[in-house]
């Protein structure tokens, strides 16, 4: 029952040498067909299980066939789906995943990374906990283990990152509104001194110009990227001369606030005023009915991240310095059923990926 059966056991039972067994194990063509069959039979009979630990130990360069995945909040179904996407491609490539939940704690994150390292992961995909420092990833990259960061960036860390393409997303969202017939579209919320703001604003402007729509500076109303900020922004927006008929909101929190403000003013969001916002996922656990958002396709992002990592792993040398940016973005209308509801996607696109 407990007796572990090894290659020598099966070699003995099959009347061959260990090497022969080893060869059939890895499907080498250098072994006689009948011998192979016999060995295979014995393997099955004795219930032999390959010991990857030992194999891995022997092979100088650690190809452990295990990749680590750490997410900051598995409770958020975005990350659960991300993990599923990773799992799919990783499994297909013959790897298995160590999945850990940092629960937004850098301390815990450090622990799990250390643990994973001891287990000899051959790569890591991480959605960093808030406050993650480049130093936290340092030892990993120093030892040549490929790392790809998703969703959030780790400034200073020389690792590949997979982030949403804010520019393309904003552009898509505005094009969506234009397609709905809107001519004057505002950009509401967010602090102008942040990178994301600039990126999203850029995409917004680009779409407006391309469609020949209004582009006045008064259409851009900055505010805190919060619900309250949304209320404030829509308040100023509705007082504009020649009032806009729709708005792209900096994020979902702002969009919520905008909806609040519209209702307070007797306007129904969606019917009387178009509202669309970036679904920044982290904060929003519940969707608001009738709100259209620009979201990342989590599974798609997971698959992409895994592909990227696997490529780096097989490339051998970690050329992990390139910071790639972008992901699958979808414009979707939530149906009031929460994130896990069927997404009645209005439009779906895969945007250019700059690697």
């Amino acid at each position: 029952m407990g007796e572990r059966v090894t290659v020598v056991d099966i070699a003995h039972a099959a009347g061959v040498s260990k090497s022969t067994v080893s060869l059939v194990l890895q499907g080498s063509p250098l072994v006689n067909e009948v011998t192979r069959a016999k060995v295979a039979a014995v393997i099955r009979d004795l219930g032999y299980v390959y010991n990857r630990g030992a194999a891995n130990l022997r092979q100088a360069n650690a190809k452990s066939k295990i990749i680590g995945v750490v997410v900051n909040d598995l409770t958020n179904s975005f990350f659960a789906e991300l993990a599923v996407g990773i799992d799919m491609t990783v499994q297909a490539a013959g790897y298995v995943q160590f999945l850990a939940n940092s629960a937004e704690s850098v301390e815990r994150q450090r622990e799990v990374i250390a643990s994973m390292r001891e287990h000899g992961i051959s790569g890591l995909i991480i959605s960093p906990a808030r406050g993650t420092d480049a130093a936290d990833l340092k030892p990993l990259v120093a030892s040549g283990i490929p790392v790809v960061a998703v969703v959030r960036n780790v400034p200073g860390a020389k690792v590949s990152s997979l982030l949403s393409d804010n520019h393309a997303g904003a552009r898509a969202a505005v094009e969506h509104l234009i397609g709905l017939g809107h001519k004057r579209i505002a950009f509401l919320g967010g602090f102008p001194d942040t990178t994301v703001f600039g990126e999203r604003l850029g995409g917004y402007r680009e779409a407006l110009v391309a469609a020949g729509a209004d582009t006045g500076d008064d259409l851009v109303i900055a505010s805190a990227p919060s619900r309250a900020g949304g209320v404030a922004a829509i308040g100023r927006c509705t007082q504009l001369a020649n009032r806009p008929t729709a708005a792209l909101c900096f994020n979902d929190a702002v969009a919520f606030g905008v909806c609040d403000g519209l209702r307070a003013a007797g306007l129904e969001p969606g019917r009387d005023f178009g509202v669309i916002g970036f679904d920044d996922v982290i904060e929003a656990k519940t969707a608001v009915p009738a709100l259209t958002t620009v979201s990342i396709d989590p599974q798609g992002m997971g698959r992409r991240a895994a592909q990227l990592l696997l490529k780096q792993i097989s490339a051998g040398k970690a050329e992990a310095e390139a910071v790639v940016s972008s992901a699958h973005l979808v414009v979707r209308r939530s149906c009031g059923a929460g994130r896990s509801g069927a997404d009645d996607t209005a439009m779906q696109g895969r945007f250019a990926i700059a690697e």
Copy 2:
């Protein structure tokens, strides 16, 4: 960069022997304090990482410190939360989890289990894919690896199981309705020839008797455990002489149907007729507003499963034959925000656990 530093490296650098280093590594008290400090320093300086694979190989009985987790649908946030619960306790015990998603495919499940076995997991927690056979788990238990099945049972497999306590859950639900003032409460939906039906019906009856409420057989209306079945059941129910004022539904699908039927008849669920149903999780991706359900606390169940497994692991010999039944059940009212919304739990209880 690539050069892997080993115990001998650090032994050499510290001017001691490998064994001493090894002792320091496992915090043995058999080593001089100054030597220990020196070794520790060198370890840090050279960036040494413990190789669990090698250690594990050496130690006769494999204590790999890794436990496998396979769920049938990680996309369902119930299972994501389950994984989180497992992760918590498992991490606290110094283990790491291999998490795989079988996506309801027994084929894939078999693959990942095989893979996990090769990696030397010291235990497995599995939420079996539909159609899982006892044979799928056979090799695992045969080699003495503890297995605990959650959510679904694997008939015939001699493994511990953690299932919801249908009896207690039904009883709690009915008590909840009685607490709301209902006197005539129906039991709607489900096929009477199933085990769960019997268990839930038992709890329902027990609560009625205990409260001295009506217990007529006409109050029990079987039907398919589906939305359509719910419509049918409520249709017959409302035609009863002395109409009930509330119902416990076999599952959430039935409950949905019951709500449909009520509305069609001009009755508002919750206000005109109390509806409560078992949240069987698997099918329900979206919650219906104002529906009260009997649910399992997923994280709690995960923690519990992990504890059970860890206990069996440390116990050494797999006494995994006991089939334990039950889990944390909560009666909660959904707020139309999906499962991941804040649960405004009406009542929460931990029911007796028979191990």
